[in-house]
C-alpha cells in the first residue's frame, strides 16, 4: 500500500526507479550469501552483522538517491567548479597521506568519525559533473581546441593521473567515461584520437614512475594480473574459481545461500559477486543483472534523445556510462574477458563510499529524467525557458 503510493508519487523515469530497487534488493541478497562463508558459519555465524551493516548502507544510499533526486539537477552545475577543486585537493592529500590498505592508498580517514572515505568515488562524480557542464556550455565552440577541448580535457587528465597510482582501473574507467562524454558531446574526432594517444602515454608515464618509485605505483600487481590473463588460457586461480561458480549455477542456480564457491573466491562480496550471483541464481540471474544495467543505459539514451546537448542529458549519460562500464567491466572479469581489475559491481557489491556515491549518481540521473519528463509534458502549454544557458 505504502510502497505503491510512494511509487506513484515518484517522478522521473519509473523504469530507472525499478532498476535501482531491484539492484538494491539483489545486492542485499548477494552480499548476505557471499559473506556467509563457511568460516563464519562454523564460528556460530556472524553473517547477520554484515547483512545489517550492508542493509543500513543500502538504506542510507536509497535515502541519498531520494535527496539527490529531489534536488534540481541544475544545482549540480552551479556546484561543479567548487566540487572540482575540493576533489583535486582531496586526491592530492590521499595520494600522499592516505591510509594504506592492501598496498594501495585510496582512503582517507574522516577525523572524529571512525570512517574511511574512498576519495576517488567523490572525484569521479565531481569530474563527470564538471565535464558535463563544460561540454554543454561550450557547444557553440565545441570543435575548437583552445576554447573547448583544452578546458575540458585538463581537469580530466589531472584527476585521472591523481587516481591512477593507487587505482589504475578506476582512473582508466573514468578516463574512458569522459572521453565517451566528449565523443557524444561532439568534440572533434581529431582530438578524441589524440586522447587515445594520451591514454597510452599516461600508462607509459605511470610505468616509468612505477619503476622509479616502486612504493607509489602498484606496478607489480598490474603486471601479475596482465600476465595471468594473457599467459593462462584458463585464467588464474581466482578466475577459474569464478568460472566454476558460474558453471555450477547452470540455468537456474543452486539457490540463495547455497553457493559453494564463495569459500574459494577472494572478495566474493565485491570483485566476484557476479560469479556468486550466477552460481546462486543461475544464468537467469546473471542475465537479469546485465539486463538491468542495459535498461538503465537505454533509459539514459532516451533522456539524451529527448533533450540533446543540454547539461542534464550529458550529465545523466556520463554518470550512467560510468556505472554501466564499471558494471560490465566487473562482469567481464568474472567471465574472463578482461584481466582482474578490482572494480566492483555498482550498487550490488558490498562497500561504503562507492555504494553511497553510486546511489547519489542514480539520484542525479533521476533528477534529470524528472525535469526533462516534466519539460516534455509542458511542451505546448507554457514556454519554459530552460535553466540551461545554451540556445537551441
Amino acid at each position: 500500500m505504502n510502497a505503491i503510493s510512494i511509487y506513484r508519487n515518484l517522478k522521473g523515469d519509473k523504469a530507472i526507479w525499478i532498476v535501482v530497487a531491484l539492484l538494491a534488493v539483489l545486492s542485499v541478497l548477494a552480499v548476505y550469501s557471499s559473506t556467509g562463508t563457511m568460516a563464519f558459519q562454523y564460528r556460530g555465524g556472524h553473517t547477520e552483522i554484515y547483512l545489517i551493516k550492508h542493509g543500513l548502507i543500502v538504506a542510507l544510499g536509497l535515502f541519498l538517491t531520494y535527496i539527490s533526486y529531489m534536488l534540481h539537477y541544475m544545482q549540480y552545475s552551479r556546484l561543479a567548479p567548487l566540487l572540482m577543486i575540493v576533489s583535486i585537493v582531496l586526491l592530492v592529500y590521499t595520494l600522499f597521506f592516505g591510509t594504506e590498505l592492501n598496498d594501495a592508498r585510496r582512503w582517507i580517514e574522516i577525523p572524529g568519525l571512525q570512517l574511511s572515505f574512498q576519495t576517488s568515488d567523490f572525484a569521479k562524480m565531481a569530474l563527470i559533473i564538471f565535464v558535463a557542464r563544460s561540454i554543454s556550455t561550450k557547444q557553440e565552440v565545441i570543435k575548437d581546441f583552445n576554447s573547448a577541448f583544452l578546458p575540458i580535457i585538463a581537469p580530466v587528465l589531472i584527476t585521472c593521473l591523481l587516481i591512477a597510482p593507487a587505482d589504475l582501473s578506476t582512473a582508466a574507467l573514468l578516463f574512458v567515461t569522459c572521453v565517451l562524454m566528449m565523443f557524444i558531446g561532439r568534440v572533434s574526432l581529431k582530438y578524441i584520437g589524440v586522447l587515445a594517444g594520451f591514454g597510452i602515454m599516461g600508462i607509459a608515464f605511470l610505468i616509468v614512475i612505477g619503476t622509479l618509485f616502486p612504493e607509489m605505483v602498484r606496478l607489480e600487481t598490474w603486471i601479475s594480473r596482465l600476465n595471468e590473463f594473457f599467459v593462462n588460457s584458463d585464467g588464474g586461480y581466482q578466475i577459474q574459481q569464478a568460472k566454476i561458480a558460474i558453471a555450477d549455477g547452470g540455468w537456474f542456480g543452486v539457490g540463495p545461500g547455497n553457493s559453494i564457491q564463495r569459500n574459494y573466491l577472494p572478495y566474493p562480496y565485491a570483485d566476484f559477486i557476479y560469479a556468486i550471483i550466477c552460481e546462486e541464481y543461475g544464468l537467469v540471474g546473471g542475465f537479469t543483472i546485465i539486463f538491468l544495467y542495459l535498461l538503465l543505459f537505454l533509459k539514459c539514451v532516451r533522456i539524451v534523445t529527448r533533450s540533446p546537448k543540454t547539461f542534464g542529458a550529458i550529465l545523466a549519460m556520463g554518470l550512467c556510462l560510468n556505472l554501466v562500464i564499471q558494471a560490465f567491466a566487473n562482469i567481464a572479469v568474472s567471465l574472463h574477458l578482461v584481466p582482474v581489475t578490482g572494480l566492483t559491481l555498482p550498487l550490488v557489491s558490498k562497500g561504503g563510499t562507492s555504494m553511497l556515491f553510486t546511489c547519489i549518481s542514480l539520484g542525479i540521473i533521476l533528477s534529470v529524467s524528472r525535469y526533462i519528463e516534466q519539460a516534455s509534458k509542458d511542451v505546448g502549454k507554457v514556454e519554459i525557458k530552460d535553466l540551461n544557458a545554451d540556445h537551441h
Binding site: 568460516a39 577459474q240 560490465f328
Partner: protein, 708 residues
C-alpha cells in the same frame, strides 16, 4: 552548422556508443552461456571437491596443570618448513638473484651435511620440476623458525618467497613419570588414557580450517589469502595434584617396591575434607624397568583383604549388634567354617578376648566368627550386605578417569554370585569382595572426615586464556555414612590398630596416625603354589586427631623382606606421612602451644643456643621471632639482652668444641670436620657430650652425644 545538424551529429555519436554498449552486453551474455553451458562440464569437474578442500588445522592442545600451576603435560610446538618454488610472487628474477644466498644459509644453519652447491642445484632442479612443496627442514623449534624466516627469499613470506610453515606439536610431560598414568595420553587409534582422555573435549581445542589445494604429485598446499579459520587453542585443566606431594608419594612407593622387589604398587594421597587427590602413583615392573604402566589405583579391583574388616566392623557397630567389648574366642588363631580352615596371620595362642583386640590385631578368626555369629547363623546375611551397601562400598567413586574398576559385593544367598556357606565369613575379612584401592580409600576417608563421604576428584577447574571457565569443587557422596557414635568408635579402633595392633612398630611420637593393615593372599585358590603371592596394603589417615590427608598404599606380590601389610605397605605410608609433615609445616600441631598468656607479659625467647648461623637466621625469620644478628662468621650463639641476639661463635681447630645446645646436624658437621667419630642417642638437642670441651682432639677419637 545548423541546430538540426548538430543534433543529428550528437545523436549519431550517441547511437554508436549505444551499439557498442548493447554489443558488449550481448557479448557478456554469450560468454556467460559459454562458460556455464558449453564448457560447463569441464568447469564443474574442476570444481570437484578433490581439487580444493578445507583441511583441519589441529589446535594446540591445552596444558594439564598441577594444583599450583606447574605443567604436568604440555604441547611443545615444532615446525616443518617447506617451500613453494612456484609461488605466484616468486619470479625468475627474484629466484635467480637469491638462490645462491638461500643455499648458503640452508647449508650453514639447516643441514651442514650438504654443501651450498648441493642446495643450490637442488633448489634449481626442483623449481624446474615445479615442486610446490619442497621440504627444507623438519623438527624446527621456535627459535630456529625465527631464523629461517629471515633467510633470503623466504623472508618475503608465503606469496613472494614461497615459504610454507607447518606447525606441529609434541606432547611433553616435564615431570616424566610423576602421575604419568593419571595424566594419561591421547593417541591415534589407541584407547585414550587418564585425564588427557577424559578431558579431551576441553584439552583438544577447536580445529581450524584451511583451504588446501592439490598440486601435482598429490600433495596439498595451503591456498594463500583466503579466509582461513584459526584454530582455537584447547583449554587447560588444573588438577588437584600437588607436585611436591606427588614427588614424595612416588619416591616413597618406588623405594618400597625396590625394597620388596614387588610386581607393582600404588599409592594415593587424598585431602580428607574435600576428596581432592593430592598425589596418585602407579608403578609396575615392566620389561623396560619401572614404569607407570597401568592405573592400578583406579582400574584394578582386587580382593582387598584385611582393610575391608573396617567395613565389617562398622556394619556390626552400626547395626548395634556388637561393641568393641563384645567377647570373641580366637581359638589360638585357627577356626573352621564348613569344610575350610581359616587362619590368623600366625598362631598366637589367644583365646577369649574382645572384638577390639581382634580388630586391632587383624584377627581373621575374630572378625569372621563374630560376623558369622551375628548375621550368618541367623540367616541375616542380606542385612549385612545391605549395611555394607549403606557405606557405598558397592559403588564406583565416579572419578574423572575412565576405566574405574567395578567393585564386587555379592548379593546375599545369590546363586548367580556363587554365594556359599563360607562366603560371609570370608567376605568379612576382605575375600570374595573386590574393591579398587581408591574405593577402599574413599571409605577410610569418610571415617576420617567424621562420616562424611567425599567423592575423590582430580580436576579442579578448566581454564581458558588464564581464566577459569568451569570449576569442579568437592562433592559430597553421603553426608553421614554411619552414626556419629559408630564413626567415633571406628576412629578409635583405627588409631588403636596403629597404637597397639598391627601398626605399632611404625608408630611415631611426632604425630598420631590411624589406619588398618591388609595382607591378602592373592593365590589362595592354588593349593600347591610354589610361592605364595600376597598383596600388602595399608590405608589410613593423619594426623589422627584432626585428619588432613588420607592415604592408601598397596604393594602387589612383594618377593623379599616380608609380605605383611605392616612390613611392606605401612613403612611406605609412614614415609609419605613424615614427608607430608616436613613439607607442610602448617599441618604440624605446635609443640609448645599454650592457651594461657604469661601473666607477667614477659617474653620467652626461643632456646636457640648455638648452631650454623644462616640456618638459625632462616628458622627465626620463618617463625617470625624478632632477633638481631651480627651477621658475622659461620657459627653463632644466642645471647639474651632484652631481645634475641645472635653473636659470632668461633671454634678453634684442634680443640673439642662445645656442641651442647646444638642440633645433631650441626654437631655432627662440626665434629666430623675435626675427624671425630660421632655416636649419638636420643632426639632433639645435644645435652651431654662424652669429651669435655677444650680437650685437644686426637684423630679418630669417638665421642658419645646424648640428645633430648
Amino acid at each position: 552548422m545548423k541546430e538540426t545538424t548538430k543534433k543529428r551529429e550528437l545523436l549519431g555519436r550517441l547511437y554508436i556508443v549505444m551499439v557498442f554498449v548493447v554489443l558488449t552486453a550481448l557479448m557478456l551474455f554469450g560468454k556467460a552461456v559459454k562458460i556455464s553451458v558449453i564448457e560447463g562440464d569441464r568447469w564443474r569437474a574442476k570444481g570437484d571437491s578433490l581439487y580444493l578442500k578445507f583441511m583441519p588445522v589441529v589446535a594446540d592442545r591445552g596444558d594439564v596443570l598441577a594444583a599450583d600451576g606447574a605443567l604436568l603435560a604440555t604441547s611443545l610446538p615444532f615446525f616443518e618448513i617447506r617451500m613453494d618454488l612456484k609461488a605466484d610472487g616468486l619470479t625468475d628474477q627474484l629466484f635467480a638473484e637469491h638462490v645462491d644466498s638461500l643455499a648458503w644459509y640452508l647449508s650453514k644453519y639447516v643441514n651442514p651435511n650438504f654443501s651450498p652447491q648441493y642446495f643450490r642445484n637442488h633448489l634449481i632442479k626442483r623449481r624446474a620440476k615445479g615442486d610446490r612443496y619442497l621440504l627444507l627442514a623438519k623438527d624446527v623449534n621456535y627459535e630456529m623458525l625465527g631464523k629461517v624466516k629471515q633467510f633470503p627469499l623466504l623472508r618475503h613470506g608465503p606469496y613472494k618467497g614461497g615459504l610454507i610453515v607447518e606447525r606441529q606439536s609434541r606432547r611433553a610431560k616435564p615431570y616424566q613419570m610423576l602421575a604419568n598414568r593419571t595424566i594419561g595420553y591421547v593417541r591415534e587409534d589407541v584407547q585414550p588414557v587418564g585425564l588427557e582422555g577424559s578431558f579431551d573435549q576441553y584439552l583438544q581445542g577447536e580445529a581450524g580450517k584451511r583451504l588446501m589445494q592439490r598440486v601435482s604429485g598429490g600433495t596439498w598446499i595451503p591456498v594463500q589469502d583466503l579466509s582461513e579459520l584459526e584454530p582455537l587453542r584447547g583449554d587447560d585443566i588444573r588438577t588437584t595434584i600437588d607436585i611436591e606431594l606427588q614427588d614424595v608419594v612416588h619416591e616413597s612407593l618406588m623405594q618400597g617396591l625396590l625394597r620388596h622387589n614387588a610386581l607393582y604398587g600404588t599409592a594415593i594421597l587424598m585431602d580428607v575434607k574435600t576428596g581432592a587427590i593430592r598425589a596418585i602413583s602407579n608403578i609396575g615392573a615392566t620389561e623396560n624397568g619401572w614404569a607407570e604402566d597401568y592405573n592400578y589405583a583406579i582400574g584394578a579391583a582386587n580382593e582387598p583383604g584385611s582393610t575391608f574388616k573396617v567395613a565389617s566392623m562398622m556394619a556390626m557397630l552400626e547395626d548395634g549388634l556388637a561393641t568393641p567389648d563384645t567377647r570373641v574366642d580366637l581359638e589360638k588363631g585357627k577356626t573352621r567354617f564348613y569344610r575350610s580352615d581359616m587362619y590368623d596371620s600366625r598362631m598366637h595362642g589367644v583365646e577369649d578376648t574382645t572384638l577390639r583386640y581382634a580388630f586391632e590385631t587383624s584377627s581373621n578368626v575374630g572378625i569372621a566368627k563374630t560376623v558369622n555369629e551375628l548375621y550368618g547363623k541367623t540367616k541375616n546375611a542380606d542385612r549385612f550386605i545391605e549395611r555394607l551397601k549403606s557405606f557405598h562400598v558397592h559403588e564406583k567413586t565416579g572419578i574423572e578417569i575412565t576405566g574405574e574398576g567395578t567393585p564386587v559385593i555379592k548379593e546375599a544367598y545369590s546363586q548367580k554370585d556363587h554365594w556359599s556357606g563360607t562366603t560371609l565369613p570370608w567376605m568379612s575379612t576382605g575375600y570374595e569382595v573386590k574393591l579398587t584401592p581408591l574405593q577402599t580409600l574413599r571409605l577410610f576417608n569418610a571415617i576420617a572426615n567424621d562420616g562424611k563421604m567425599m567423592k575423590p576428584y582430580l580436576v579442579s577447574e578448566v581454564i581458558r586464556d588464564g581464566k577459569p571457565v568451569r570449576q569442579f569443587g568437592p562433592t559430597i557422596v553421603d553426608g553421614r555414612i554411619a552414626s556419629a557414635q559408630t564413626i567415633r568408635t571406628m576412629q578409635d579402633l583405627l588409631l588403636g590398630a596403629v597404637e597397639r595392633g598391627t601398626g605399632q612398630y611404625q608408630k611415631t611420637d611426632q604425630y598420631k596416625f590411624a589406619g588398618k593393615t591388609g595382607t591378602a593372599r592373592v593365590d589362595y585358590y592354588m593349593k600347591d603354589a610354589p610361592r605364595k603371592m600376597y598383596q600388602a596394603s595399608f590405608a589410613g589417615y593423619f594426623p589422627a586427631e584432626d585428619p588432613v590427608y588420607s592415604c592408601i598404599v598397596l604393594i602387589y606380590d612383594p618377593k623379599q623382606n616380608g609380605y605383611y601389610g605392616s612390613a611392606v605397605a605401612l613403612p611406605v605410608f609412614r614415609e609419605i606421612a613424615d614427608k607430608c609433615f616436613a613439607l607442610k609445616p602448617e599441618y604440624t600441631p605446635p609443640v609448645n602451644e599454650t592457651d594461657e598468656a604469661r601473666p607477667d607479659g614477659e617474653l620467652v625467647f626461643a632456646d636457640v643456643r648455638e648452631g650454623y648461623r644462616t640456618d638459625i637466621e632462616d628458622v627465626l625469620e620463618y617463625i617470625g621471632v624478632g632477633f638481631s644478628t651480627t651477621r658475622d662468621g659461620e657459627w653463632a650463639e644466642s645471647g639474651q639482652e632484652g631481645e634475641l641476639m645472635l653473636q659470632k661463635k668461633e671454634f678453634s681447630g684442634g680443640e673439642m668444641p662445645d656442641v651442647r645446645g646444638m642440633h645433631l646436624r650441626d654437631a655432627v658437621f662440626l665434629l666430623e670436620n675435626q675427624g671425630v667419630t660421632v655416636h649419638c642417642e636420643g632426639y632433639g638437642k645435644v645435652v651431654t657430650q662424652s669429651i669435655r670441651p677444650g680437650t685437644p682432639i686426637r684423630e679418630g677419637v669417638r665421642i658419645d652425644l646424648k640428645l633430648r
